[in-house]
């Protein structure tokens, strides 16, 4: 019995000591968990961005001309964009609101025919609140680098634009360069034609052949309204005069109208070589 009382007293002292030890480190522990969880949210946000946002806002959120604006951009973080849309809350609120509820109208003076869809489950979208929050902290984590890029020289125009003549003779195309152009921010084609089906998918699917084969079939179809005589001309026409013929089931005006001024003949040739190489 004496041993029990002695050991019990000793245990009580140990218990008090352990509680004291925990109490001393508790503030630091809570702090460290908070930091770690914030960091893990950025990780989650990064993978959500790749799945849901990259298709339109481009790799690294640099935007795709004519599809969706850059969010990895200085004006988002220095307050200019918030001022432009007349938003008086914080950036976090703005991002959360726009991602959750979408954008019914584009910002003034911009040309983005597609609307930002609603993403939060509360607005009929697919994402939970904590996922939206993860996306917001991921986007906000661009701040340092986006602001640091201000003043960096804009990339120089890369040559004479191709114009709207579809009979132009093209140089030899390079499929790899075409792929890089299609998937990068400058071309931005893959956002709608590969990753999402906003425009007709380029790749073959089921009985439908790839885009190049379809092009050579289509010019002979009765409902074709354009002027192309070869598959190559059809593809040039689709890029530089997107409304000359719109495949049934897709809307006119969605495809950006300014590729004739933005792309060189070499770039169009690369793109077509890339399309031809697709299965």
């Amino acid at each position: 019995m004496r041993w029990h009382i002695a050991l019990g007293t000793l245990s009580l002292l140990i218990l008090v000591a352990v509680f004291g030890y925990i109490a001393v480190g508790e503030q630091a522990r809570m702090q460290s968990f908070t930091e770690a969880y914030d960091a893990r949210q950025i990780e989650t946000g990064a993978s959500l961005f790749e799945t849901h946002c990259r298709t339109c806002h481009g790799p690294q959120g640099k935007g795709i001309v004519g599809v969706a604006p850059a969010i990895n951009a200085a004006d988002l973080f220095n307050g200019e964009r918030l001022a432009a849309v007349g938003f008086s809350g914080t950036l976090t609120d703005y991002l959360e609101g726009v991602i959750s509820a979408g954008r019914p109208v584009p910002s003034a003076g911009t040309n983005y025919p597609q609307r930002m869809p609603t993403w939060a489950q509360a607005y009929g979208g697919p994402l939970r609140k904590d996922q939206i929050e993860s996306l917001v902290v991921f986007i906000e984590n661009w701040e340092d680098r986006a602001l640091a890029e201000v003043g960096a020289a804009p990339s120089a125009p890369s040559g004479t634009p191709i114009g709207t003549d579809i009979t132009v003779s093209l140089p030899e195309g390079n499929a790899d360069q075409g792929a890089a152009l299609a998937q990068g921010a400058q071309g931005g084609c893959s956002a709608c034609h590969e990753l999402a089906a906003v425009g007709p998918p380029w790749a073959a699917a089921g009985d439908t052949p790839g885009v190049f084969v379809r092009a050579s079939d289509r010019i002979n179809e009765s409902d074709y309204t354009g002027n192309a005589n070869t598959a190559q001309q059809y593809l040039i026409e689709s890029i530089v005069q997107p409304n000359a013929f719109v495949v049934s089931g897709y809307e006119a005006g969605i495809m950006p109208q300014d590729y004739a001024q933005r792309l060189t003949a070499q770039q169009v040739a690369d793109l077509i070589a890339y399309m031809e190489s697709l299965p």
Binding site: G8, S11, I22, M30, S32, A39, I42, T44, K129
Partner: protein, 528 residues
């Protein structure tokens, strides 16, 4: 004339006896009331371990008090040692109390709603002083309680203590085993992380198999609250966990304890004649009285075990996986360990037979065991068949549990398994735990791990190579592992794990890849 008169009898006594004697008598009176019958003198002599007077005043708290009605006044010396009880029943009760205390504390910070539950967990970990400790103790205590209750049942079986007259005690014990399982299991859903959702989804999907189909569907719906787990399902499981099951537990613990006191602790099997039960006829020289010996010892146990479990909680942390997502089934998600045997049986075949009928017959059989197995002898030597069957059941439990684990007959692609070794979906794993600074941007081949620039990369690549070497699929060869590390954002790196191979027939290359983003501060080493 006063409106009311305050009468303090102590003042009269002070007037009559003087201050000190009056206060001493009053204190004695209070102590006697609180201890339900022991005066200060009795308490002092008890603590000095003097022989008790006659009649023994130390029996009064048992006969006059409420709480000690639950405790025998004395134990047979033969059941006072570690053998034959191993204190397992007492330990079960101890952990039940620990769970109630920590559970009530956790309830303060918890909202049973899918919108808040997971955030509540984060708050408990990041914003509640001692929050993680309480959660860890609750979780650790729950796992220990399940194990102890199961061992308690096993011990009772082995010593034959379920036999007449203790049949009903055994039956309530089996009910308490079920309550314990369900208590622990129902707690799984509450954090609303991936572990919660999928462990419980696996468990509940079994009831769906109850025939006829309409019953299975209805019961399934009752447990889920909707075709998919959501707000209603969480609320139901929460109420089961914090109200219904604890109440059932308290009621049956009461019955169980009452029966134990009524029949006495059964003696070791060879201590009495076959067919006799002498637990209630304890010779005076073989008694160990509750006061003071057992009481001080149990008090010591309480303090020492509390200290042990708090220290244990410093090292064993309750896991918290990512937020529950009904669309993403994590690779290798399993039922809790004590239900792995069920999951193992389900792999044997038909859901109705192996998920319902066999477990149902087993549990039902355990419940009525003492009413069916009526052999009079409790001695080990006369129960060879019974003991062999019992140990066979324990062995089967072990084998089935192994079969329930992901290592047995789970069909996923070997490439996926190889990547999951570095990047598991149910716990952090080597890649997330590795030193972030060591992930130098670049492309690395697993086979050339010894040429990687940092120690971190060398060990990660070595492990990757090891798991790729284990892949064997007919018709594919030339397996190769590549890790691509990209600088993605400030303090954020993107790691892509690629496994490449060549198809032997067509000669075409194949690829499996998985991507993970790692932040400098994500600190997965904290144990959650």
């Amino acid at each position: 004339m006063a409106i009311f008169r305050l009468h303090l009898p102590i003042l009269d006594e002070i007037k009559e006896k003087g201050l000190r004697p009056a206060l001493r008598d009053k204190t004695d009176d209070i102590v006697t009331r609180v201890t339900a019958g022991l005066s200060i003198q009795d308490v002092r002599s008890m603590l000095r371990d003097d022989p008790p007077g006659r009649p023994n005043p130390r029996l009064k708290p048992h006969s006059e008090g409420f709480w000690l009605h639950m405790k025998p006044t004395y134990y047979h010396n033969l059941v006072d040692g570690i053998y034959p009880t191993f204190r397992l029943g007492w330990l079960s009760t101890f952990f039940f109390v620990v769970e109630i205390v920590t559970g009530v504390l956790l309830m303060v910070y918890y909202t049973p709603s899918p919108e808040f539950a997971f955030t509540n967990m984060l708050d408990i970990l990041s914003n509640v002083p001692f929050g993680r400790l309480i959660r860890d103790i609750h979780r650790l205590g729950a796992e220990l309680m399940v194990a102890i209750v199961m061992l308690h049942a096993l011990r009772t079986f082995l010593t034959g203590s379920y036999k007449k007259p203790r049949q009903f005690t055994w039956a309530t014990g089996i009910i308490l085993l079920l309550v314990t399982w369900l208590l622990s299991f129902s707690g799984y859903l509450l954090p609303w992380d991936q572990l919660s959702l999928w462990a419980v989804t696996i468990g509940v999907s079994m009831v769906e198999a109850i025939p006829p189909e309409v019953v299975g569907r209805t019961v399934n719906l009752l447990f889920r609250g909707a075709p998919e787990f959501g707000a209603n399902g969480l609320l139901r499981w929460y109420l089961l966990h914090v109200v219904a099951l604890p109440l059932a537990g308290i009621v049956f613990v009461g019955v169980h304890y009452y029966k134990v006191v009524l029949h006495g602790h059964s003696l070791p099997p060879d201590a009495e004649e076959v067919g006799e039960d002498t637990a209630r006829r304890v010779p005076t020289d073989s008694r160990t009285y509750f006061f003071p010996h057992i009481a001080t010892r149990e008090l010591f146990y309480v303090v020492a075990l509390t200290a042990l479990i708090v220290i244990g909680a410093l090292f064993v942390h309750a896991p918290l996986e990512p937020h529950a997502d009904p669309l993403v089934t994590p690779l290798h998600s399993t039922a809790p360990w004590y239900f792995l045997w069920l999951q193992g049986m389900l792999k044997l075949g038909d859901k109705v037979i192996f998920g319902l009928i066999v477990p149902g017959v087993l549990i039902g059989g355990l419940l009525v065991l003492p009413y069916v197995e009526v052999g009079p002898s409790r001695r080990y030597g006369s129960r060879r068949i019974g003991l062999t069957a019992g140990l066979g059941l324990v062995f089967t439990f072990g084998v089935l549990s192994y079969m329930g684990s992901p290592w047995f007959a789970v069909q996923t692609s070997p490439e996926q398994e190889a990547v999951a070794e570095l990047l598991p979906q149910t716990h952090p794993g080597p890649l997330r735990l590795a030193d972030w600074e060591g992930f130098t941007v670049g492309t690395y081949e697993a086979s050339a791990y010894d040429q990687a620039p940092t120690e971190t990369l060398r060990s990660v690549l070595d492990e990757f190579e090891g798991s790729i070497e284990g892949i064997k699929i007919d018709g594919r060869s030339d397996y190769q592992g590549v890790i691509v590390i990209e600088d993605w954002q400030t303090n954020l790196k993107k790691l892509t794990l690629r496994i490449l191979w060549t198809d032997d027939v067509t000669g075409k290359p194949g690829e499996y890849s998985q991507t993970v983003y790692l932040h400098k501060d994500s600190n997965y080493g904290q144990g959650e």
